[in-house]
Subunit: 549 residues, 2 copies
């Protein structure tokens, strides 16, 4: 059987574009003489469609699209993901379904059984779990159709191939085991994190070993604001070898003949930092494309975060579509401008120098009758950051640039940033990248030649909002800070445990407190491109006024 | 049996304060010779604790608190809500539980069966549903213990008392029917919306009628950022009559003797606008109290939204704790300052006049080399709003005020507001109140005497960011706009349906588009006090770059 894997980039709610894309892929699969073309989860409406799923009219559009797509399946069958109305009154209103289309008609519907409702996923908010288990007969083969999480009822690192994921009490593939499926098909929308692909490989491996059949895995590609889908669709034979591997971070359609494809493809295993780089570039690119914008602006401080964002933005949008503002104040070091100029030169990209001193002084003058002789404080620091925000947004409003935010994860975690100042922006490019990873990324970018000037990498980080300020005046060294943050945010460990591990008790307590007391600030941060298993945003839902630690 | 209803205001994660409060209430119930004191859902940690529930240490704190509380239950039993670890490896890690404490020990545990996972609720993210159904024997009575949603498996307006809520496929009270419970106890954390109390009454009524036993309903009170819990705990006899009713929006402990209490209390039915008023005041008050702040600041524009917020803030925090800034520009009308001054005088509250013209002109000067001779646009409009934002935040940072946001729901819906300008603030007081409701609220506040100057109510709304600007220059009349918004946001109806209803097709399409294309702006809005069944925020999860309508 020849199976086409259609790894495509969908636009949520853009039924016309998605349907045309799916129909074109069916045509391509037909030309390549595939028997069936497999798409990704909820491809017709795009994933995640979120609360659009609660609008009847949105579901009606999905139904219309199915009809249109089905009419193109006379020679090749298509397996498409789409939400459908729960025909029974009991339970949630929808199923998350895979429609098997052939000869112009809906031949079979498979609903998703395991509905992830954790981290960034809210599937039980919308969908009723499937309780009916059937395989599909097609051209003499028995197909087991699964949707994303349905294959995650395994324990990847267990010696026991029958070990079950304790989160779930039902295994959709176990339920069809006695129907002796010959191929497992999986329609996924599995977002990227830097360890996700390795995890997926193990999960698919655990499945093919347990059931002793090959699997065709088709993942969505493309970013949907925070969530970046990396594709990486593949075919694994029953021995657990990858026999076909689609590229990461781009659209692709491949046809694999399961009878022929037996040669193990050794998948290129890119280092995590390369994947993060590619994910961020795609994240920027799709944010602009899907919103219908072309041009980005950002503030270039002379620091490493904004340098990195500029580089990533020029990679994603083209150097001609990015404008940098250099906005020195009286507290700015000389090198802040010089280093930024060197970077702009390296990248051959446009900039303006817009000093903020007069605006800053004017604010001090306006406020003088009220501030009087109070000492210089965070208020004056923040005015500088906010003047920069006003200038950047003025360019944005006047000329149609989208402002890119340059806050990194370490800063976001401890609230080291000015709300409505350097926290402005439509998209936080580095909000899920710890400062130590920012350095790693800079070294990766400079691997062949110096793109990011060395001085930007080596100088001590500073907000330059008061004379001779350094980040370490108010924060621990990033090397230690990031370790504590990682343990708390990613690993959800307690202060007690970290202190037992040997971390300084006062430091741990201070860091935990900074994280918790800055939920109000993060609440108003721009959406953050997610590259880790636990990013700030929809995957981490905290209480603003909660008092814990 | 004498039952104490403890309707208390908890602080999420503040175990010390919550535990002390619970122990004090047990003492009070003991003094009043109650047999048992019933608390609200998840009272030990506070509701909603959100992702704190995923931290083992947080759950360990809950366990410690149970031990402490149990040791105070020698004379009176206590029924407390708390998360507990799922003892089995299968399923979610936690149960949402009610612990029956007596004689210093845990006597019984009841887990929640129906886990709301819609709108603002995420319970299936954390909790495994209960599948074991038992009543509790206490002093010769059979008690059916339920937690919040567990009693919502009814159809309030149905003639058939056995009609089930189609969302659920199991009914926890049906499961214990054959154990012949004599009293139903319910621990709730049911947030306010202007129609929620009437809904609750009907739900409780449907239950007591179906099972023919009285119900004791204890709801949490107090606001948790966006969510405002209104209390309104009650006892209903088997005939469906309210025989005890606790107050709304305040802490209260009442003891009810179920053998004696038979006289129907006719609950005072306050108009929705009065409830909204009280809810907003509590929402402001608790936001400040729980975050440990006292003082608020806001920008007073001369318009009705900021006037209302000032009034509500003085009610919540005391007139001495609120500061208004009047920030006229060259485009401000004379009455904008005069009306604001009249309001400050009526409320006897402090203000400063801080003109923005010089700051605005300085920005124009700084930007002149780049803006050149481009025509006056939204860029210049927004600079004014953002200068005001900078000034308000400077006061906030310098003196420790929290900035209150004054955006109303109509503006938030269509994106009529400046991000980082008038969209600044720690809390959006009116973000769930449509403009037409804002007027209604103003009339309610003025019901006895003129507090909000009449001119503020009668003049045409204007942002005053360009000469002679009116809201209706860019928006439909609020009377019609709000109707369309309500149908789209609250009722989730389609453009097609609204056009069939007789609304102008071009207008509907324009409004729907404005709502959808402003998700990016709302993403960065402050938390919004929720007073309707569908507020912007955690209860409405949309896609920023989705393309639908």
């Amino acid at each position: 059987m020849k199976i086409a894997l259609a790894q495509l980039n969908y636009h949520v709610g853009n039924f016309e574009a998605n349907t045309q894309k799916i129909i074109a892929a069916i045509g391509q699969a037909e030309k390549l003489e595939a028997d069936i073309v497999v798409f990704s989860e909820l491809c017709i409406c795009g994933y995640p469609a979120r609360d659009f799923l609660e609008f009847n009219d949105f579901i009606a559009q999905c139904e219309l699209a199915i009809g249109q797509i089905a009419s193109h399946t006379h020679k090749v069958a298509a397996l498409v993901g789409v939400p459908r109305k729960n025909p029974k009154p009991e339970g949630k209103d929808l199923f998350n379904s895979a429609f098997f289309l052939y000869e112009g008609k809906v031949q079979h519907i498979t609903d998703k059984t395991l509905l992830p409702t954790y981290d960034v996923f809210d599937e039980y908010r919308y969908f009723e779990p499937n309780k009916k288990f059937e395989t599909v007969q097609f051209k003499g083969q028995t197909l087991a159709i699964t949707i994303c999480e349905d294959i995650w009822d395994v324990v990847p690192d267990s010696d026991n191939i029958n070990a079950h994921n304790p989160l779930y009490t039902i295994s959709p593939l176990d339920e069809v085991r006695n129907q002796q499926p010959q191929i497992i098909l999986n329609l996924s929308a599995s977002p990227f994190s830097y360890e996700q692909h390795q995890q997926r490989l193990k999960v698919i491996q655990a499945n093919v070993r347990r059931y002793n059949v090959p699997m065709v895995y088709v993942n969505q590609v493309g970013a949907q604001t925070e969530l970046i889908f990396d594709g990486g669709s593949m075919v694994m034979n029953a021995k657990g070898e990858v026999v076909a591997q689609l590229p990461f971070f781009e659209e692709h359609l491949s046809v694999v003949d399961l009878n022929v494809a037996s040669k193990s493809v050794v998948p290129e295993s890119a280092p995590a930092i390369a994947l993060i780089h590619d994910a961020l570039v795609l994240g920027i690119c799709d944010y602009f494309t899907k919103l219908g914008f072309k041009k980005a602006i950002l503030g270039l401080s002379g620091g490493i975060d904004s340098a990195l964002v500029l580089y990533l933005a020029t990679s994603a949008l083209g150097k001609e579509n990015v404008l940098s503002l250099l906005m020195p104040s009286g507290f700015s070091s000389n090198h802040s401008v010089d280093d930024s100029l060197a970077l702009c030169k390296n990248l051959d990209t446009a900039y303006h120098i817009v000093p903020i001193e007069e605006n800053y002084q004017q604010f001090l003058a306006t406020l003088q009758p009220h501030f009087k002789d109070t000492p210089f404080s965070v208020a004056e620091e923040n005015i500088q950051a906010r003047v920069r925000g006003v200038l950047l947004m003025a360019f944005s409003n006047k000329f149609g640039y989208i402002l890119l935010n340059t806050t990194n994860k370490s800063e976001a975690a401890v609230g080291y940033g000015t709300l409505y100042g350097d926290m402005c922006g439509g998209l936080a490019v580095l909000g899920d990248v710890y400062k130590t990873q920012v350095y790693e990324l800079a070294r990766y970018i400079n691997r062949d030649r110096e793109i990011i000037p060395q001085n930007i990498i080596t100088k001590a980080p500073s907000a330059e909002l008061r004379p001779n300020q350094k980040d370490t005046d108010s924060l621990p060294e990033y090397e230690i800070l990031d370790k504590i943050l990682f343990q708390y945010i990613e690993k959800r460990r307690s202060a007690r445990e970290l202190i037992t591990d040997g971390y300084d008790a006062a430091l741990v307590s201070r860091v935990f407190k900074m994280v918790n007391t800055n939920e109000w600030k993060r609440f108003q941060a721009p959406p953050i491109l997610r590259i880790s298993p636990k990013a700030f945003g929809m995957g981490r839902r905290m209480n603003i006024e909660g008092k814990y630690y």
